[in-house]
Subunit: 209 residues, 2 copies
């Protein structure tokens, strides 16, 4: 089933892109099974090798497998209710946390959130290469996370990641069941890649139409 | 030469990761040659299919090929001097710009910078798959960029990307020549992936040592 559904969900790309990027999507239906430790280590290793401003590596993680029991429940509690409904079935939950200050001088790191995004993307691509899915969420309860895990003041919870294998949408409440079948849409490149001036498509984009 | 140098620069990973992630690095020495338009379109297409909070797709780009003449020079002028020295040789320069407000209600998008990072990572992985290098830079002149390109108030310049083929470090000033040979270092997973509490490594990380 995994293969068939992954096939269905591949991005309807206008220009050829690598299969790992094309095949990545964010499912709501996870199979309630564990993620092998070797895979999990490789996911975080992929995040680890992301580039970052001044090589500050502002990314930090709170992670729990279903098997970790209380930690998994604590992380689940840091998601907004609408995300708990489906994310409870994931094999692994992760909270991404950004160090908002530079280690070398304590000043604000204006690229911290950006660089956490870089790392999460690498983690997600590594997951795709291993037949695993990642659903990234902005809907978290940062204050609760800070309290539950004693996150220091200069660190900021950013997103949560549900990681695991694709599951049967039948386990989801009806309101969510169709989400994994909705068409995948993105803004056109002409409205995204500008050239000589803001709002004016780059020549190479305009010519490609 | 490309292959040999790329081989040298592969990340000394502690756990297996996909070759596209392992092989990605940020060179200073670019060959002053153009990037084929088909490749460039695929790079932006890869960015386009990144996930984002509420599918807001906050990423926008100002992009110029060397062949685009004045636009390339304008973008080069938006980098800090230390980056101009080497980035002038890249085939393509890009400024990434985040829409800082939500399109649906105009409120702040707290995930905007993060999601621009996601998109840049996908662009960079697509480049790696095509034998192209990307060097992401935090060192830009945002005010100058805003003025030069009339970037609207609710958008914020985030990073610049130099894109192209690996070049001969001999074209770089001596101070930069060795940068492309420095060891690649990252913080250990035990200091990055916590479990039950902040600062305490996740069990699956601790057990892997």
């Amino acid at each position: 089933m995994d293969d068939e559904r992954t096939e269905d969900r591949r991005a309807p790309a206008d220009h050829p892109i690598h299969e790992l990027i094309r095949g990545r999507w964010s499912p709501y239906a996870f199979a309630p099974e564990g993620v092998p430790v070797e895979d999990l280590l490789s996911l975080f290793e992929a995040a680890r090798w992301a580039p970052s401003s001044y090589n500050e590596q502002p990314w930090h993680y709170l992670a729990a497998r279903r098997e970790d029991g209380p930690s998994f429940g604590k992380l689940l509690g840091c998601l907004v209710e609408a995300n708990r409904v489906w994310a409870q079935h994931a094999g692994v939950l992760v909270l991404t946390v950004a160090r908002m200050t530079l280690t070398r001088n304590g000043k604000p790191n204006s690229k911290a959130l950006h660089d956490v995004g870089l790392a999460s993307a690498q983690l997600t691509i590594e997951a795709a290469a291993r037949g695993l899915s990642v659903h990234q969420m902005g809907g978290i309860l940062p204050d609760r996370a800070r309290e539950e895990f004693d996150i220091p003041a200069d660190f900021e919870p950013v997103t949560a990641l549900a990681i695991g294998r694709l599951g049967d949408p039948g386990i989801l409440p009806e309101s969510l069941r169709d989400r994994d079948r909705e068409p995948r849409v993105r803004r056109a490149l002409e409205e995204t890649v500008y050239g000589p001036a803001w709002g004016e498509p780059a020549p190479f984009v305009k010519e490609s139409k």
